[in-house]
Amino acid sequence: MSVNELISVSEIDLLRAEAATLQQLMAVLERTTLEQTRKLEDAIRDRTAAAEELRRQLEVTRALTESMGEGVLAFGADARLSFFNTAAEQMLKVEVASVRGRMLDELSLARPQTIAAIRRVFEARTTIRSDDDLFLAADGEALPVSYTASPIVSGGEFVGAVVVFHDITARKRADEERQKLLEVEREARVQAERARETSRFLAEAGSVLVSSLDSSATLERVARLAVPSFADWSFVHLRDASGALRRVAVAHSDPEREALLRSVEDIYPPSADDPYGPAKVTRTGVSEMVGVVADRILEESAKDDAHLHQLREFGFTSYISVPLIARTRTLGAMTFAMAESGRHFGESELLLAQQLADRAALAIDNARLFAEVEEARRDLEQRVLARTMQLQEANRELESFSYSVSHDLRAPIRHISGFVDLFRKRGAGSLDPAAAHYLDVIADAAKQAGTLVDDLLAFSRMGRAELARQRVSMDAMVQEVLGQLQPEIASRAIEWRIGQLGEVTGDAAMLRLVWRNLLSNAVKYTRTREGAIIEVSRTELDREHVFCVRDNGVGFDMKYVGKLFGVFQRLHSADQFEGTGIGLANVRRIVGRHGGKAWAEGEVNRGAAFFFSLPRESEERIDGTQTHPARGR
């Protein structure tokens, strides 16, 4: 059907409506299009502004990156080099044009391991840093750098990476310089420590050497002190009496090594014709220093293959052997060796070893001299002991002699006296006066001989008897003695001047004998005086009591004062003044045994003064130390 024919009125209305709708749609579309166009135009305008802004920012960034000292490289997300600042250009000596757009992996500006590290930024999107790496300049020179490689993220999107690096050549150089300085300082410290140890060793060794006179122990200690500070090994060898070299000390920090060396040296002892080492040094008296021990030396030193093997095993690297010389005699050698520490000796160590050897030699020499003196002293002691025993024997003989005298000599004297008496009784009436006189003389002589023997024995006893110390009142004792002397005193007109005498500590019986002797002497030697005066006094000195018996009797000549206290020494004839000449000897002996002294002053016809002193100290050791136990019967 055709349109004209078929269109009805209603159809036309429908079409009109449709056209109207389309027209409206068209209008909407047109409006929308305009709007969109406007929007687009706005957008384009905005985008342009943004691009402008971006460009501006980029310029700022470029300016910033250009002005800073760090090198800056930027890469796109595809790892192509997109930016390279001037600093980077200069440091790496590269034209930007020649590298822009190149892939990171293709760049020869860093070592492969560095490239790989930076590559990690693209893969892991993390920042990496290195404080010490090398970049490679275009001319192949290495550039020490520190760098940071960071991802660039925009709106949550990874858009590339930037590498910022810094030339650390100066820092590296400073570091190296500092390192070198540190090294030097450490070396100096090691040297100083070694020097300190050395001087300490020398000082300790020195003090050890002077501290003892036992030379082998001393040398052992010195050898011990030397390891390990001064040497790994130290040895001391000395000549013995036969001239053979003997090892007296060996020291190593490891006792097992030390024992091994001992056993090796026991099998291969040093012999006089050794070409090296202690034996040679002792033989020649000249120091030997081997800075580096060559195998040749070991070969020449070894006594056989096994020995050589052992010597090699010890691994000696260097040694010093110095002679021990005292008073021009070479006593032996001191040897220091290096082994496992790998150290080597030098001139300064040689000098030190020589100093040490000199001191050691002196010490050994002193010790030997001392030993000789000691030996002589012992010998002397032995002789003194022998002599003492002889004297003791002689003393015993003397004692038994005086015992015999006591018994055997007294008996005949007693017999003379006894039989004279019996004879007198029998023939009393028939004796003429002369015969009676002769009998009196015989009796007197016998009595005198008896007294002499008794006094002599008493004197000998005074020297032997133990002192029974006790507190003694001198006042009471003097009175007691005067009582005993009464028979002699009674007929005499004596003026007694007796002071305060106090107490002392001593053997009462012996002290009584002292007083008896002195007082009876005073009485006896004033016998010829009309007005006899006898004074008894006591004087206190710092350390002693001094007692004095002074008389105005016949006195004596001071030039004979030395004879006064001797046994049987008399200054008067028996006819003038009777006496045995033992009394004062006894006084001196008794006082001496109490730790005191006895002396006298006198003048002919003007009297005499006899003094004796007793030490005050003796008072301290009284009581409880009574030497004689009470004897019961």
Partner: protein, 154 residues
Amino acid sequence: MTELKRILLVDDSSRDVELTLAALEQNRLANEVVVARDGEEALDYLYRRGIFKLRTAGHPAVVLLDLKLPKVDGLEVLKQIKGDDELRAIPVVMLTSSREEKDLVQSYDLGVNAYVVKPVDFHEFVDSLKELGLFWAVINQPPPGSVKRPDDRR
């Protein structure tokens, strides 16, 4: 009436024996005195052996004993007497020339009853014996307790 008992005098010196006898006589103590010339004889007498085998029984009133004797010395005789239960009661007087202290000490240690150093002067000797004689020879019974065993000493 006092009965004088027998005295044993042990002395090797005939002179001393003579003097002692004279002194005893002067003191009228001349009762029976048996003289032994050495220690062995003294012991023989006391034990009634040897030459004294046949003597009548009974102990002497006192033994006057010299210290220094041939064969067996005085200290040994003293030791034997004081070490014998039978003889211990006999008073023993050491009569000697020795003034040596050690002899005196030893004698007392062995239990001697008296110790007399013979004085040089005869009169003194006579006096000493007089005292001893009166004490030991006149009194029949020695006082109890006057004899001590050596091991009773303190």
